[in-house]
Point group: C2
Chain length 318, copies 2
């Protein structure tokens, strides 16, 4: 490690505390961080790994993008509950040989996104890793008591919606594998995805979504979570799924991961906007009573849809 | 990994949700856990790594002890603020070859301690590790607003206290290195240390401690944190430090890590009990205005005390 643990923590502390955030009573520098969550609110907690050669590769992803994507994983989970982020905590294990420049780039990316959403980095841990960069990001958020949008609220008859365009992130990964060099300019959604916090909050405030999840593992897998938790099934209309062309477009949209878009269900009478904050919101299917998932193609032919999205234990296999 | 990620999460979920805990509105199984912290309280947050070959060795430490020690790291930080633990979150990266039996043992140890302190395991993440077991434990706690005992409250003239007996944990490590086989029976404080939560709470309730830290890195290093944050210095009386014999006893007590005892300062007029819950509380020094740390030996000779406790980036060197 280029700096000692203590020097690195001091450096992070200086950078992280450059702004005052109201929820934080005490940030980095004590046994615990101390937070004062807004009254009348419940607390949201999410933790996500961001591991080298599982979630990113140093030869593919610039350090800034790795830091950004690390924090996005947590912010996107907060968005999926309709919540507001309060604070982030980072546990970071670094291999001995990592250049200080890489570490600085990682924090540049993470702290720029944190600043943008007014989320202080309020604590964490630093250690040496035996192999590869291993980050664990924890984000705390808040939501008015009883108002969190769970995965379990989907009802038969509800319409299934998705934000944005799907499959872009895995398309960039596949391009890397094919020896191409996608960039942040060509595929910003892969390198610097924007968490859908404002959209999640609006859906919660207007009571539009009955169930919600963020698309981190892939539509087919994440939809199966909504179905399992809600005790329902779902039909997806292939022609409605928003994806960009290419022969694998639909496959990427259904089974690609790391889109960080929101997938939600809404009562058919709910007035869901076609666009929120410039991001398209598309009806792509419906919730049914019968357990299972089906894909209906343009000729009306229906086939079983299986959860085949990204699963971390498969590593880079997909 | 012996079980698929999904199967493992299901298994943990079943075990973790065997009891109902009041602060948890929604545990494992959504994008975030949802918690309702007690009104009028602030939130405490701590995260700690528990890495194979840095914090434990699979050939030395039974899986149960690894799980227990992993959670203790977080609980001890909550104790050091005078707080009560609310919930724990575990991110766990497992190497592909790890036996399911080891994983079960790890959760046996972790969940037994969690149950004992009524701390639900409310979420986390699972991934495959390229090398070694890597756990990151996050514990949330609560403390009445404004009452957290910080590291920064020490004042010149305050008496320095420590709970329990120091150096036992590193003594067990040194025994392992010398080829001996210490056991949980011979050194319970190394394998199954008890977090000093009740003591921390009592010190806070009775307003006895002005500053506090838990001894995870070693007395000399942890005392330096109190001194740095409080802007003071300290003198430690070698003859007062509670340690068991052996030629290295004092060295282990001053610079050994993972004691998980509490180190605190108190006004000289405060009536600090000599024993709390059967654990001795010993005055070992005093806080002085002049920055720095000194050790006074039995002949009254004073020498500079340097922070030479466990630092994780040094790995197993110590």
């Amino acid at each position: 490690m280029p700096l000692s643990e203590r020097a690195l923590i001091e450096r992070i502390r200086r950078r992280a505390s450059s702004r005052k955030f109201s929820a934080i009573t005490r940030g980095i520098g004590d046994d615990c961080a101390v937070l004062d969550p807004p009254p009348g609110h419940e607390l949201l907690v999410t933790t996500d790994f961001c591991l080298e050669n599982v979630h990113f590769r140093r030869e593919w992803h610039p350090a800034k993008a790795v830091g950004h994507r690390c924090l996005v994983r947590g912010l996107s989970d907060i968005a999926a509950m309709g919540g507001d982020p309060l604070a982030a905590f980072l546990s970071l294990a670094l291999p001995a040989e990592i250049p200080q420049k890489w570490v600085d780039g990682f924090f540049d990316g993470l702290l720029a996104l944190a600043e943008r959403w007014k989320v202080p980095l309020a604590g964490g841990d630093i250690a040496q890793s035996p192999q590869g960069v291993m980050a664990d990001i924890m984000v705390l958020g808040s939501v008015p008591r009883g108002k969190a949008i769970l995965r379990s609220g989907g009802k038969p008859g509800d319409v299934l919606y998705v934000t944005g365009t799907l499959g872009l992130s895995v398309a960039a990964l596949q391009a890397f594998r094919a020896g191409k060099k996608p960039t942040a300019k060509s595929t910003p959604r892969h390198f610097f995805p924007d968490p859908r916090i404002d959209i999640g909050r609006l859906l919660r405030e207007r009571k539009l979504a009955t169930a919600m999840i963020d698309l981190s593992d892939g539509l087919s897998t994440d939809l199966s979570h909504i179905c399992d938790e809600s005790g329902v099934g779902a039909v997806v209309y292939a022609t409605s799924v928003p994806y960009v062309g290419g022969e694998n477009g639909l496959e990427f949209a259904l089974n690609g991961g790391e889109d960080y878009e929101l997938l939600f269900t809404a009562n058919p009478r709910a007035r869901v906007p076609k666009e929120i904050d410039g991001v398209p919101v598309t009806a792509i299917g419906e919730i049914v009573q019968r357990r299972g998932m089906w894909l209906e193609d343009k000729r009306g032919k229906v086939a079983k849809l299986r959860p085949r999205g990204w699963e971390h234990f498969r590593g880079e296999k997909k």
